[in-house]
C-alpha cells in the first residue's frame, strides 16, 4: 500500500467508526457498554500501526478535489499534508486517547451519559486529524469548529444543573466569536490570493508578487489567524471561560482543557508560521499576548484553591509559553512542549481526586505546619502591595467585569432598548406579556 492510501486510511478510519457507532445509537439498538470501548480500543490500535508506517515515509500530501466545485469559478478541495512534526502531535493524541478510553471505561460505568460521552469522544478523534493535517484553511476550520462544539456539549454534560448550562454558553460564545477569525481568514485569502492552501500561504513574499494589488490583504489574513487562535488557547482577553469549563466529567476536562483542545491555539499558529512570522508586527503581538497571559495565569492560578481551576490555569500558563515559543520561531520545541504538557496535565487531572490523600501522606503536612507565603518572585514587593496584588488576582484582575460590563453589557442594553421600541410599534405594549389569542383560548377552557 502506498503512503497516500495509508494516510487516507488514517483520516477515514475514525469517520467510518463514527458513522457505524452513530447509526447504532440513532436506531436505539441496545448497545451495551462493551461495544464502544472495544471499538475505540481496536481503532486506536490500528491507528498506531498506520501512524508508524506513515511516519516512516515522512512528508505525504493528498487532496480530494471537487468536494464543492463550480466549474471554472470556485473549487473547495479537501487537502491534507502530513509531516513529522504534526505526526508527533498526532501520536501524542493517540496515546492520550487510549489512556482516556481505558480510564473512562470504568470511570463512566453505569453513568446515564455513557454513550453520549463516547460518541463525542469518537467525534473528537475524527475531527482532530482535520486540524492537525488539514492543508487548507477550510479543512482546518471544519475540524476546528467540530472540536469546539464537542467541547461545549461535554461541558454541558450534566444538563440538570443551571450554572453548567450558563458556563457552556460562555464557552460557545468565546469559540464562535473566535471562529469568525478563521472563517474571515479563509474568505480573505481566497479573495486576495485565490488560494487557501496553507503551504502556499506560508510564503507571502511570493504571493504578494503574484497578486500585487491585494498584497496588504495577506496581512489581514495573518491577523485573523492570530485572532482565531486566541479563543481556543484561552489567551488574555478571553481567559475567563477556562475556569468555567470544568463542569464535565474529569476525563473530558483532562483531555480538552488540560491537553489537546486548549493546545490547538499554538498548533494553529505553528501551521501558519511562515505567514505570521513574515510580518514583524504580528510576531511582536503574539509574543506580547503570550507573555501577558503567562503573567496573568501565573498570578490567578496561585490564588485559586480548588484542584481543577488551578490545573486549568496552569495549562493556560504552559500554552501561553508555547505561543511565545511560536513567536520566537522555535517550531520543533513547540510540538515537544505540547505533547509533554499534554501528558503532564492529563496525569494531574486524572489524579486530582487524590489531592487530599497526597497531602495527608506528606510528613510535612500536620496541624500548625507553616503555610506558604507569597511566591518568591513577589516577596521583594512591600507588604501592602503584595496583599493588594493577592486580592486583585483573586478577582481575576477584573477580566470578567471588563468583558461583561464594558464590552458586552452596553451593546446588549442598546439592543434591548431597540427591541422595546420595536415592540411598542408592532404590539402596543412594551413587554408584550399577553399570551397569543389562539393559545389563550385553548388554555382557558
Amino acid at each position: 500500500m502506498s503512503e497516500n492510501e495509508l494516510f487516507t486510511f488514517v483520516l477515514v478510519l475514525p469517520l467510518i467508526w463514527l458513522v457505524f457507532y452513530g447509526t447504532l445509537l440513532a436506531f436505539r439498538i441496545r448497545v451495551g457498554e462493551k461495544i464502544p470501548v472495544i471499538g475505540l480500543k481496536v481503532l486506536t490500535g490500528i491507528l498506531f500501526i498506520l501512524y508508524a508506517l506513515v511516519m516512516k515515509t515522512g512528508d505525504v500530501s493528498i487532496s480530494f478535489p471537487g468536494w464543492i466545485d463550480i466549474p471554472s469559478q470556485y473549487d473547495f478541495p479537501l487537502e491534507f499534508y502530513f509531516n513529522r512534526t504534526m505526526g508527533v502531535a498526532g501520536l501524542g493524541m493517540l496515546l492520550l486517547l487510549s489512556v482516556i478510553i481505558k480510564y473512562s471505561e470504568s470511570y463512566l460505568h453505569k453513568e446515564n451519559g455513557f454513550h453520549r460521552f463516547f460518541f463525542l469522544l469518537s467525534v473528537f478523534m475524527a475531527a482532530f486529524p482535520f486540524v492537525l493535517y488539514g492543508d487548507n484553511i477550510d479543512v482546518v476550520f471544519i475540524g476546528w469548529e467540530i472540536i469546539g462544539i464537542t467541547s461545549v456539549l461535554l461541558i454541558g454534560f450534566y444538563e440538570n444543573r443551571e450554572h453548567v448550562a450558563v458556563n457552556s454558553w460562555w464557552a460557545i460564545s468565546t469559540y464562535r466569536f473566535c471562529d469568525v477569525g478563521l472563517l474571515a481568514a479563509t474568505t480573505l485569502a481566497h479573495y486576495a490570493v485565490h488560494t487557501t492552501n496553507i503551504r502556499e500561504l506560508n510564503d507571502p513574499a511570493h504571493l504578494s508578487l503574484l497578486h500585487p494589488e491585494h498584497a496588504n490583504w495577506i496581512f489581514f489574513v495573518a491577523i485573523c489567524i492570530v485572532f482565531a487562535s486566541l479563543g481556543k488557547a484561552a489567551q488574555l482577553p478571553l481567559t475567563s471561560w477556562i475556569t468555567r469549563a470544568m463542569e464535565g466529567p474529569t476525563p473530558s476536562s483532562a483531555l480538552y482543557y488540560g491537553a489537546l483542545s486548549i493546545g490547538l491555539g499554538p498548533l494553529l499558529l505553528l501551521k501558519f508560521r511562515g505567514l505570521i512570522l513574515f510580518y514583524p508586527s504580528v510576531q511582536v503581538t503574539i509574543i506580547f499576548i503570550g507573555v501577558l497571559t503567562a503573567i496573568y495565569s501565573y498570578l490567578v492560578a496561585k490564588t485559586r484553591s480548588d484542584a481543577k481551576s488551578i490545573l486549568g490555569l496552569s495549562a493556560v500558563f504552559e500554552i501561553s509559553v508555547m505561543v511565545v515559543e511560536v513567536g520566537l520561531g522555535l517550531y520543533h520545541w513547540v510540538v515537544f512542549h505540547y505533547v509533554a504538557n499534554a501528558f503532564l496535565r492529563v496525569f494531574q487531572f486524572l489524579r486530582s481526586m487524590n489531592s487530599i490523600q497526597d497531602f495527608y501522606d506528606n510528613p510535612l503536612f500536620y496541624r500548625g505546619a507553616p503555610h506558604r507565603p507569597a511566591p518568591t518572585i513577589l516577596r521583594w514587593l512591600p507588604e501592602s502591595w503584595q496583599k493588594h496584588l493577592y486580592y486583585r488576582a483573586m478577582n481575576g484582575f477584573g477580566l470578567d467585569w471588563f468583558i461583561l460590563q464594558v464590552l458586552v453589557g452596553p451593546w446588549m442594553r442598546f439592543w434591548i432598548k431597540v427591541n422595546r421600541f420595536e415592540n411598542s410599534i408592532a404590539m402596543g405594549d412594551v413587554h408584550h406579556q399577553h399570551v397569543p389569542a389562539k393559545l389563550q383560548s385553548d388554555l382557558a377552557e
Binding site: 471537487g66 468536494w67 464543492i68 466545485d69 463550480i70 466549474p71 469559478q73 470556485y74 473547495f76 477550510d138 476550520f141 471544519i142 469548529e145 467540530i146 462544539i149 461545549v152 454541558g156 444538563e159 440538570n160 444543573r161 443551571e162 453548567v164 448550562a165 450558563v166 457552556s168 454558553w169 460557545i172 460564545s173 464562535r176 466569536f177 471562529d179 469568525v180 472563517l183 474571515a184 479563509t186 474568505t187 480573505l188 481566497h190 479573495y191 490583504w217 451593546w411 446588549m412 439592543w415 434591548i416 431597540v418 427591541n419 420595536e422 410599534i425 408592532a426 404590539m427 402596543g428 413587554h431 408584550h432 399570551v435 397569543p436 389569542a437 389562539k438 393559545l439 385553548d442 388554555l443
Partner: protein, 448 residues
Amino acid sequence: MFGITDSYFFLLLIWTMMTLIGLVIYSFHQKRFWLILSPLSAIIGSGWELWNHPHSDGPLNIGLFFLFNLCLMRLLFTMMLNRYATPMKVKIIGAASMLIMGWAYFINDPWVFSILWGISVIPQVISFTPEQSRARNIYIGHHVLSFVLLIVGLKFLSSTTALPLDLSHIEQLTHGQAEHILVGCLILAAFIRQGVFPFHLWFKAGYKTLPFPLNIGLYIGNLGFFLFVKTIMPLLQGAFTDFFPYVMVCGIVSGLYFANMSLVQEKIRSTVFYVMLAQFSILFCGLDSASLTGKSGVLFQFLSLGLSFSGLIACLYILEWHMGELHSRRFHGLQHRNGTLSIFFLLFSLCAVAMPLTMGFAGEDLIFHAVIEKYPFVGLGLILTACLNGISLFKVVTFLFRGTRYDSRDDRIEFGIWQKTALGILLVLLFGFGLFPNLLLKHVLSFI
C-alpha cells in the same frame, strides 16, 4: 392557460385535487395519511421533473424548485404536529394559502401573478382575532403597500415595452429613467414581502398573534424571494446593474440587525424567528453578488434553511402547544423526559447556523466567497451575522432543554412513528447533502 406550460399545469391540477380530496376525507375520520397525501404528490411530481430534465426551458422551472421546497415544508409540518395541535379551521386556511402560492410560482402572466400575490395574504388576515386589531392593521398596511408597489412596477414595465410582458422573457428591456423607478418599486415590493430590515414589522406582529403555522407558511412561501430570483435578478444583471450596491447594503444591514435583535428577545419563539430573518437576509446578499457561485450558493442555502428551520419550528410549535409561552431567560429543563426531541432540536439549530459537515456550511461557504469577491467588508459583516446567530440559537437550546423542572406534572411529549420518520428524513437530507454537497450542486447549477 395563464402562460403555464401544459406539463406543469397538469402537475398543479393533480396537486390541488389531492389537497381538496385529502381535506374532505380527513374531516370524516382523522387519519393523518390523508393530509400528507397532497404535499407528497407535489414533492414527487416536482422532484421527478427537476431530477430528469432540468434544462427543458431555463428559468421557468425555478417555480418547481420553490414548489418542491414549500411542499417539503408542508409535509414535515403535517407529520410533526399531532392531531389536536391545529384546529380544522387553521388546517383549511393553511392549505388554501399553500395552494395559492403554489399556483403563483408558475404563473407568467404578471396580472394574475399580482392578484395571487395579494390573495395569498387574505387567509392570514382573516384569522386575526378582533382584539388584535393593531397587529392586523400593521399586517394589512404592509401587504397592501407591497401589492400596490408590485402593480405599479409591473404596470409601468408592461406599458413601456412593445411586446406583451411575460415574466419569463424579461431581459430585453431598454435602460431608461422611468424604468429605474419601476424596478425600485419591484425591489421594494419583494423586500416588504420577504421582511427585510425596515419592513419586517408585519412579520413580528404576525408571529406574536397569528396561529403559528399560518404565519410561518406565508414566510416560508417566499413569494418575495421568488419574484426577486425570477424577474428582478435578470433585470439587475441586464440593464440596471447600479442597483446592486443598494440591495447589498439592505441585505447586510438587515442581517446584522436581526442577528443582534435575536440575542435580546424575551420569548424563545421570537428569538428563533429573528435568527430565521437574519439567515434569509444573508441570501439576499448572496444573490446580489450576481456570480454563478453566489446564485448557486443562494439556491443551495435556500433549500438547507427551509429544511432546518422547518424542523426547528415544528419542534418549537409542539413545545409551545404543550407548555404554553416559553420565556427565553428561564430554564425549562425538558431534556430529562424528552431526550430525542432535544437531540433533534440541537442538530437542527446546528444545521441552521452552518455547522461544518451540514448542508448549511456548504451553502454559506459559497455565499461568503461570492460576496467577498465583490465587497470584502460586507463579507466580514456576513460572517459576524452567522457567528451571532450561532450564539443565539445555542442560547435557545440551553434555556429550553437544560436545568431541572420542579413540576410534578408529566411533560413527556409523545414522539410517535410519524415524528421520527419526519425528523429522520430531515436529518438524512441535511447531513447527506452536507457530506456530499456536489450531488445537489450539479442540479442547482442547471437552473441558472
